[in-house]
């Protein structure tokens, strides 16, 4: 799950029998005990801000530094900030700031503000790092201020002012977007936002100004608690004030430009619902979910559903709908399936890849195959193998060449796909799957398959 915990002397995360545990080292025993006894932990649990944990005695980690071992509430799917849409990242940022404000009330402070310390569960962000809390010393500044700006404020500002796709810079910058880079990429008009001007532009200049100044910290840097609270409140106002840019994308209005009739749309929903009931999965990964219309067939049946899409507008709309309807079983996520999230960090072992994190009972690939095969030249063999490694069951929609959407894809390029047809599709997918059912969608040339992985 999180192999970066070796960087933290307070403790580390480890996996045993498929479950996550966290060792607390002697180094942080005082902070941990104060966190638990001060009432802060209880308060954060009551507010739903942090995952619950229990202390366990039967699992002993590393003996040398061992103090205690805790078993946190297990979150099945770990997601990363570069997979969150704008509002999800914003919610995670506000959660981090709210936790810091609560911590200060109990004379504690967050010693880091990593976006990776937040996960999504039951439709809300939740903090997962129990060892991020340390005692607040009167007059000390917020140690995690710079990290907060790099992990949250910089990507949010770039998404809001420059381009909504720029959260993907977080893949290349595992410890957040450097402020000097954010400053270069932000347009001049961003300087009219006082918060962005101060926390990114001036903050970056100040970093540069003092990076070579050895005398700067000779005198202890002091900051009153009121000033610290005002800083956090201001960051909260700045983050809350950032808006999703007004843009139109290819997929944002996909359903209003579709070639389905109302009847075939409903029939497609009915077939998918029927397939899902037959396989009765605990988890579903909907690949190419758009705004999640079909994902909700699964999540409305209380099946944990991950709704992936490449389109920021579609995922943003899906996320806002999830929030509005207070849905617990769907999580919209950004993902480019032709270039899924890689394993990143030192030794490629700090943040796990897409395919190692998102194993599920079933995969839905609706109106997706033509994009993978025709737009991205991916042979059926490769897509079938990819899907079969993710889940046992596959609900897949075959979109034939005669379909108007495929015709659009072929209108600007030479048709070099002689094998893109129903027969070849079935022949290749049959190498990996047993075809359990096949149904045509009326008033359309599309076919919906239910398949089960072989072996």
């Amino acid at each position: 799950m999180n192999n970066t915990s070796y960087k933290d002397p307070s403790g580390f995360v480890f996996k045993r029998n498929g479950e996550i545990y966290r060792q607390i080292n002697k180094f942080s025993s005082d902070d941990y005990e104060f966190f638990m006894s001060s009432g802060l932990y209880k308060n954060l649990i009551e507010k739903g801000f942090i995952v619950e944990h229990e202390e366990v005695n039967d699992v002993i980690g590393n003996e040398k530094n061992f103090y205690k071992c805790i078993k946190p509430f297990q979150i099945e799917y770990i997601t990363y900030p570069y997979e969150w849409c704008f509002s999800a990242l914003k919610d995670a940022a506000v959660l981090t700031l709210n936790i810091q404000l609560e911590a200060l009330k109990y004379s504690m402070s967050l010693k880091d503000a990593s976006a990776y310390n937040v996960q999504f569960f039951n439709g809300s962000p939740i903090f997962i790092d129990t060892l991020s809390f340390e005692r607040y010393e009167d007059g000390s500044p917020w140690q995690a201020y710079r990290q907060f700006c790099k992990h949250f404020l910089a990507p949010l500002a770039l998404m809001s002012y420059t381009d909504v796709r720029l959260n993907r810079l977080l893949i290349n910058n595992i410890d957040g977007i450097p402020l000097d880079l954010a400053k270069k990429l932000l347009p001049k008009r961003a300087k009219f936002n006082f918060g962005i001007l101060t926390h990114i532009f001036l903050h970056s200049d100040c970093q540069k100004q003092y990076e070579n100044n050895v005398k700067a910290l000779e005198k202890p840097v002091k900051m009153s608690k009121n000033a610290l609270i005002a800083l956090i409140e201001n960051l909260k106002d700045v983050v809350s004030g950032l808006k999703f840019p007004k843009i139109k994308t290819e997929w944002g209005e996909y359903y209003s430009n579709t070639n389905y009739t109302e009847q075939s749309f409903l029939e497609k929903k009915s077939i998918i619902s029927d397939y899902i009931e037959k396989i009765n999965p605990k988890t579903v990964c909907d690949l190419g979910a758009n705004r999640g219309d079909f994902s909700r067939i699964a999540s409305d049946k209380c099946i944990q559903t991950l709704a992936f899409d490449i389109d920021e507008v579609a995922v943003e709309e899906n996320y806002l709908q999830m929030k509005k309807l207070k849905e617990f079983d769907i999580l919209p996520l950004l993902q480019d399936l032709t270039n899924p999230s890689p394993a990143i960090g030192f030794a490629n072992d700090e943040r796990a890849s897409f395919s190692s994190r998102f194993k599920s009972d079933s995969v839905m690939a609706l109106a997706l195959i033509h994009h993978l095969s025709i737009s991205n030249n991916l042979p059926f063999d490769n897509t079938a193998e990819f899907f079969s490694e993710l889940a046992q069951y596959l609900i897949i929609e075959f979109v034939p060449k005669e379909d108007s959407k495929v015709q659009i894809l072929l209108s600007t390029r030479k048709d070099i796909f002689p094998e893109y047809n129903e027969q070849c599709f079935e022949a290749v997918y049959s190498k990996y799957y047993e075809i359990l059912e096949k149904r045509n969608i009326q008033s359309s040339k599309r076919i919906l398959y239910l398949m089960r992985r072989k072996g």
Binding site: K47, F49, K90, D91, V94, L95, N98, S124, P125, P141, W142, Y145, R146, C149, F194, L197, T198, H199, L202, H203, D205, C206, Q207, K208, Q209, Y210, E211, N212, N213, V214, K215, A216, L217, V221, K222, M223, S224, N226, A227, L228, I229, A230, L231, E233, N234, K236, D237, S240
Partner: protein, 75 residues
Amino acid sequence: MRKFLNILVIVFIVTVFFTNDEAKAYINPGSGSYIFQTVIGGILSILYFFKKIFISVINLFKPKNKTTKSESVNE
């Protein structure tokens, strides 16, 4: 009024930070952040003090049961 305050803050920050010519040796990239937040925190605490007074005065004239903008997403 708000614009005036913003300009005042910016002038202050520029005066504090960018008239400093000392450049000796590498410390670490976080030292600038430490110093920056102490200054900006001080300024913001004054602004937020007046903001709180302003909001409480405004609230006197508002009907009850309305939430302020700062009570945001996760609360």
